[in-house]
């Protein structure tokens, strides 16, 4: 017997346009989200300063990962904020991943 009941809702449709992989737009968006999770204003976040310098903790790091997945429909490692330590580097990495996805002959991850 499966207990997955009938009340289960369907996965939500893609109800917002997928952002294109422009590193600059990504950086603006990411700066705003990073600021939210670090309890700062976006203008306090310098894209080339390591997030560690702002006192990022594991909950904030995983939260940022979750936001990227949610907003860009792109699965990323929970350690992304440690693997790519600045906003600039994370945005660059995301732009590459999104550009790869846009190529028709490659299977997206």
């Amino acid at each position: 017997m499966s207990i997955a009941p009938e009340t289960r809702t369907a996965p939500r449709a893609l109800d917002r346009p997928l952002p294109h992989g422009n590193a600059c737009d990504l950086e603006v968006w990411l700066t705003e989200r990073v600021a939210f999770h670090l309890h700062r204003t976006p203008d306090e976040i310098d894209p080339d300063t390591p997030l560690a310098d702002y006192g990022i903790d594991s909950v904030a790091a995983i939260s940022i990962c979750g936001e990227i997945e949610e907003h860009h429909r792109l699965a990323v490692a929970p350690t992304i904020a440690y693997d790519f330590p600045t906003v600039h580097e994370i945005a660059g990495h995301l732009a590459e991943r999104l550009a790869d996805r846009a190529k028709p002959d490659e299977v997206s991850t």
Partner: protein
């Protein structure tokens, strides 16, 4: 001597479930799969079969050495549950622990457990077996057997060879390593009788129906996740739905979605989980959620905040959430899990008391002309006898007075593994009037009309001229005193100057991102904190350290690490925006301090 009947064991519960409803899901694990969630289910029949297979292999692999415990090293999966049950089926003591899949604190912690527990066997998944074997050799534990388990390994032929173990109620069912520091782990010995007693206590306190559906994101190796959210549903033939802490923190709405999808009746989380939902779940995500199925939502394992309970109820009011479903509770691994919980059919109690009386260890009604504190009631004790005791004189205190919480009863664990001295001190305490056999929790609280109010931890309490001050009260007062101070971003502790042997209070407080940080306003803010604490707590010349957001260290379950903050302060390791130190504190040489406060085994670590 009267014969004590052997208690019902977890093995009995699962065998019974496999007999009565073999196809019912015992567990559902929600794995992240790309961007969605994939449900993995395990029926009672499968769980029983796999547990028998694991038990048989354990027996054959370690003949003649069935006394040493079995360490379970798994990522968050159902395979942990089958291996854990396999230990019960084999009559072996299990040790739940996180998979040491990253260097650093987690590996150090598991290495500490390996040494402390005199482990006889390790169970893990096939893909980790080689690495764990190498780790065992490197740790000088060549004689420890490492077996892999999993859907492809747990063979039906092995299962058929299983015979039921002979268990006594006094046998240790598992060791819970959730208290103690990394360097000095303490394994709480939970016996089969303890487990049966606490499962029954939880069932009667929560009025858990047969076949309940419970669900959470708590780690499976943590007492609340294991005893409350994993074993309680099994105990009553129900279903446990789980996801990992990482899945939850990435998208807190997934927890609520799980409750909705599976019609979860019981869940649990530390306070910070409820806060994350209020802060992070969007209107879009909560639209259409029906949480009316939720009968019990426990809030425990860290201080329960009245404002969090209110904010959660308000935010999710239109989901059909019953306000009385939110149940503040108190529990700890040394009492198996649950000590007390509010009534699931009534609103929880809050008590606003006079702050000055609280400093003198008394609960008195608040007065309009004086500062007050709001305490959240953690309900009545279940099967456990609770005493409030003066920690110095060991005198039992009357209702309405604050002292150390002492416990006695069938859920109190047998002690700490291999630590007879520590066990004698903490598990065999005697009151001044000669009552014996109490466990000392180290927590402070008070009973009023049998309701338990937990007020703090003894070791963090600040004693100033004979008055007891709670750091969280001072932190809260500071944060409520001005817009610049970040809520939840403070740590208050005391440092002692060697010269006079006097304790001085230090306040480290984060400023909000928008706060003005020019030198003049910083000096003004620091002075305002000093004035506030002088006025409200009669604390002269506290030392104030203002820092940026994120500097205050917390455990992943959201507890402020005050002891660690004190050490960072003493070592001069805090990135200070501005500080205003009392002369004796400023003159104090950098000192090394006791070990940092242990982080509770909680959600994922960095």
């Amino acid at each position: 001597m009267p014969h004590q009947p052997d208690p019902r064991t977890l093995t009995d519960a699962v065998r019974n479930g496999a007999d009565r409803h073999p196809d019912r899901a015992a567990f559902v694990y929600l794995h992240e799969d790309g961007l969605g969630m994939r449900a993995e289910e395990l029926s009672y029949a499968e769980l029983d079969l796999r547990a028998r297979a694991v038990a048989t292999r354990l027996r054959h692999a370690s003949k003649g050495d069935a006394t040493r415990p079995v360490l379970l090293l798994y990522p968050p999966t159902l395979d942990f549950v089958t291996a854990f049950l396999g230990c019960f089926y084999a009559g072996r003591t299990a040790i739940p622990a996180p998979l040491p899949d990253e260097p650093g604190e987690r590996l150090a912690r598991v290495s500490g457990i390996l040494r402390d527990a005199d482990v006889g066997a390790v169970l893990t998944l096939p893909q980790y077996r080689q690495a764990i074997g190498a780790w065992l050799v490197a740790s000088g534990e060549q004689d420890v057997v490492c077996l892999s388990t999993g859907a492809d390994e747990d063979d039906g032929a092995d299962a058929d060879l299983w015979t039921a173990p002979r268990l006594r109620g006094t046998d240790t069912a598992f060791l819970q390593y959730s208290s103690g520091s990394t360097s000095e782990p303490k394994g709480v010995m939970v016996t089969h009788a303890n487990l049966a007693a606490n499962q029954e206590a939880i069932r009667s306190a929560m009025k858990t129906p047969q076949g309940v559906v419970a669900g959470s994101w708590l780690p499976l190796y943590h007492d609340m996740g294991l005893i409350g959210m994993t074993l309680q549903p099994l105990w009553v033939g129900g279903t446990s739905v789980q996801m990992s802490p990482i899945s939850f923190i990435k998208q807190p709405a997934r927890w609520l979605r799980m409750i909705h999808d599976y019609r979860v009746e019981g869940t649990a989380s530390p306070n910070f989980g409820y806060e994350l939902c209020v802060r992070r779940v969007s209107e879009e995500q909560s639209a259409g959620l029906d949480l009316s199925c939720l009968r019990v939502a426990l809030n425990g394992a860290e201080p329960v905040r009245a404002d969090t309970l209110r904010a959660f109820v308000r935010r999710f009011a239109d989901t059909g959430l019953r306000p009385e479903a939110l149940l503040p509770c108190y529990g700890l691994a040394e009492n198996t899990l649950l000590v007390s919980a509010s009534d699931p059919d009534a609103p929880h109690l809050e008590l606003t008391v006079d702050a000055q009386a609280l400093e003198r260890d008394e609960l008195r009604p608040a007065r309009t002309d004086r500062p007050s504190r709001t305490l959240v009631g953690c309900g009545r004790a279940t099967d456990t006898e609770v005493l409030i005791v003066d920690p110095m004189t060991r005198r039992v205190l009357p209702a309405g007075q604050v002292g150390e919480i002492w416990l006695r009863g069938p859920s109190v664990a047998a002690g700490y593994w291999n630590r007879s001295e520590l066990t004698a001190e903490t598990f065999r305490a005697v009151t001044a009037d000669g009552r014996t056999g109490y466990f000392r929790t180290g927590d402070l609280g008070s009973l009023l009309d049998e309701e338990l109010y937990v007020t703090g931890r003894i070791k963090e309490m600040l004693i100033q001229h004979g008055r007891n001050l709670y750091p969280q009260d001072i932190e809260q007062a500071v944060q409520e005193s001005g817009e610049s101070f970040r809520r939840g971003g403070g740590a208050v502790f005391s440092v002692t100057d060697e010269a006079s042997d006097r304790a001085h209070v230090v306040v480290v407080q984060e400023l909000r991102a928008r706060a003005n940080v020019n030198e003049e306003s910083l000096a003004h803010l620091a002075a305002s904190v000093q004035a506030l604490l002088s006025r409200q707590f009669q604390l002269p010349a506290v030392s104030v350290v203002l820092v940026r957001p994120g500097v205050i260290r917390k455990t992943t379950s959201g507890k402020t690490q005050r002891t660690l903050m004190r050490r960072l302060f003493a070592d001069g390791a805090l990135p200070v925006l501005h500080q205003r130190l009392a002369p004796a504190v400023a003159a104090r040489p950098p000192a090394t301090d006791p070990a940092p406060e242990p982080t509770t085994a909680g959600s994922p670590r960095r």
